[in-house]
């Protein structure tokens, strides 16, 4: 397994830029294991990312990798997938990248149900710029731009994706790395827009300011606060208030955009004859 991961890394790019205790490497490794399990041809695999600590992951991977502009990864990926539907496209984004500056692209990729597998690294903060609040920062947490505690409500990425039309929605934490891998595999197998939210720790820009301890302690927090979909079904909203529900959250059938477009092209070609 480890060999698999190493074989898909661009060795000359190491060491990576992430802090000690950062969860991004765990998500990266789950992604690579998933790609191996899926049996994707590396030449036909594309990894697109936005801008942020997490988005640097693309550059370490030995696939066709595209590190884009902040928030726009899904729009770049839409161009790639529509131009060349035979490619398997993964899109890596931070929580800010995907739901703040990239929020519009996120809901529209979901609405189109375009066959992209989005992995969102949710560390509840803007890591790269040093710890400002994101749309996923919980109320009252401290950030450099919420020195008195955060006032706004946070998004629920899974509900957002589902409401916008995604046909596969799942969540795991970096503590549950095996589950995360399985969910990425299932998401990639879904012919449509899939969203996998990975709850990950940023000890540097989030943990320290909120006294959540080091990377290990933040991992253990994930362990202690995660409940499976099955467990959650038996719990009251009150009991679920500070819990993270993990597992496959939603699945649906809907026409996939690039396939529908190909059908149009074929139909028009038939008419010409």
């Amino acid at each position: 397994m480890l060999n698999q991961v190493v074989s898909s890394l661009r060795q000359e790019r190491l060491p990576h830029i992430w802090c000690p205790g950062c969860g991004n490497g765990i998500v990266l490794s789950a992604l690579v294991k998933a790609i191996h399990e899926l049996g994707c041809d590396p030449d036909k695999t594309v990894v697109v990312s936005g801008i942020g600590c997490s988005s640097r992951a693309a550059g370490y991977l030995d696939f066709n990798t595209l590190h884009t502009t902040h928030g726009r990864a899904l729009a770049f990926a839409t161009g790639i997938k529509l131009a060349r539907p035979e490619l398997t496209v993964f899109v890596l984004m931070g929580d800010g990248d995907a739901t703040a500056i990239g929020g519009n692209h996120f809901i529209h990729a979901a609405r189109r149900n375009i066959d992209l597998t989005a992995v969102i690294f949710n560390n509840s903060i803007y890591g790269m710029t040093g710890g400002q609040y994101s749309p996923l920062t919980p109320v009252q947490k401290r950030t450099t731009t919420a020195p008195y505690g955060h006032l706004e409500r946070a998004f629920d990425i899974a509900e957002l994706a589902r409401g916008a039309g995604a046909t596969y929605v799942a969540r795991a934490t970096t503590y549950h790395a095996g589950l995360l891998k399985n969910l990425i595999v299932a998401g990639a197998r879904n012919k449509g827009f899939s969203v996998i939210e990975a709850i990950t720790a940023c000890p540097t820009a989030y943990g320290r300011r909120n006294k959540l301890g080091n990377g290990l302690q933040m991992l253990l927090w994930q362990r202690d606060h995660a409940v499976t979909v099955k467990q959650a079904a038996k719990m009251s909203p009150e009991e679920l208030r500070d819990k993270i529900v993990i597992g496959e959250l939603y699945r649906a059938e809907a026409p996939e955009f690039t396939a529908t477009y190909e059908e149009l092209v074929a139909r028009l070609a038939q008419k010409e004859k």
Binding site: D43, K44, H67
Partner: protein
């Protein structure tokens, strides 16, 4: 639907852009509707699927620009069309295309600005935005048609230059050229010169995606073709890997400029009209050049030796051509539908060797033949 080539047709400028794009091999369009460019998107939506191409109306212009870059990287020739407000939104990703060297064409059918301005009124207020709209030092190519037929020709040329030099190319139209109808005869496909991007000639293991050939342009592998590499807007080395090495950063930016400025003979074009013995000249582009040409003709009829220099390539600015003109004429009249954006460039190139006079209109109305003619009559005493 397109008629046969070689037959005269009444055609709109925006329609000619679509014909030119398809003739040049464009097979991907992403856009967002905006007056006065919308016809381009509408026609692309109709025509592209008929030739196996892809059309998508994205959620905004930022996304359109991003999708165009993605599609180009996946191997399709790609184009987007917009106007002022949308052109502003595209800027960050235009810079990305310049930095990552992804071929693409951006059509900007200029309208009155700033802001929403007058959506249906002509203007040429985006000349400097076309040059400097995205942040940082970067070279750019912008072409400026002044007739429907030229909208076709320059769209083909824009696509060809984008593919050849791996740059974003801007087709800087204006509302008049975009919306006017003229009788045109389009060339048959076999007469349209079509350029394809350079592909790597080495096996994947030996491929350096950002190692330039002699001409400064690195061969480009498409995603999915077996060359796995990294593309980023960060400063990158020849492998495509990010770096902050000052030497690499400097060399990269200088090379991006060299690949354009070393090929000005190929990239620059101007139209010279009655300039051989001219004593006074007009510099005008786009729709305004049409009035300028008539003014020159009428000036000649009135015994004034007038001529017209029309930048067809507006960026890089045809500096040498204007400097050379300044040595032969006493007066250069710059007529443009803005407050003097290109006049500043003309003054710089003229360098005091001739008088420079501007005619600037920002009312959304056209500059008339009479106004240009009147300016040509007033040669300053000491010029």
């Amino acid at each position: 639907m397109s008629g046969p080539a070689g037959v005269a047709r009444l055609m709109q400028g925006n329609e000619a852009v679509v014909e030119g794009a398809l003739a040049a091999g464009v097979r991907f369009f992403a856009g967002y509707p905006i007056t006065p460019s919308t016809e381009i998107a509408e026609l692309m939506a109709e025509r592209l699927p008929l030739v196996g191409g892809k059309f998508i109306q994205m959620e905004d212009e930022i996304a359109s620009m991003a999708a165009v870059i993605g599609a180009s990287l996946a191997g399709l020739k790609a184009l987007t069309a917009t106007s002022g407000p949308g052109f502003s939104l595209k800027q960050e990703n235009i810079g990305y295309a310049a930095m990552a060297e992804i071929p693409c064409v951006i059509v900007n059918v200029q309208r009155w600005g700033p802001s929403t301005g007058i959506p249906t009124a002509p203007a040429q207020g985006d000349v400097m935005q076309a040059r400097w709209g995205t942040h940082g030092d970067h070279p750019v190519i912008a072409l400026c048609p002044s007739s429907v037929r030229e909208a076709f020709d320059l769209t083909v040329r824009a696509v060809n230059l984008a593919e050849k030099y791996r740059v974003p190319v801007i087709l800087l139209m204006d509302e008049v050229v975009g919306h006017m109808r003229e009788r045109v005869v389009l060339p048959p496909p076999e007469e349209v010169e079509v350029v394809e991007r350079k592909k790597p000639r080495v096996p994947p293991g030996d491929y350096y995606p950002y190692r330039p050939d002699e001409d400064g342009v690195p061969p480009m592998a498409n995603f999915g073709d077996g060359y796995r590499y990294h593309v980023t807007g960060l400063v990158h080395d020849e492998k495509g890997n990010p770096t902050t090495d000052p030497r690499v950063a400097e060399e990269l930016l200088l090379r991006l400029h060299r690949k354009i400025y070393d090929h000005l003979d190929d990239i620059l074009s101007v139209e010279r009209y009655m300039l051989e013995d001219a004593e006074v000249a007009v510099v005008a582009y786009g729709a305004v050049a049409r009035a300028a040409r008539r003014a020159v003709k009428e000036a000649r009829a009135a015994g004034i030796n007038a001529g017209l220099l029309r930048p067809v390539t507006i960026w890089p600015f045809p500096e040498r051509e204007v400097a050379e003109l300044a040595q032969r004429v006493r007066l250069v009249v710059v007529a443009e539908m803005n407050l003097g954006q290109l006049r500043l460039e003309v003054e710089r190139a003229v360098g005091g060797r001739a008088a420079v006079k501007g005619i600037h209109r920002v009312s959304g109305e056209l500059i008339t033949v009479e106004e240009i003619l009147a300016a040509l009559r007033e040669v300053p005493e000491h010029a």
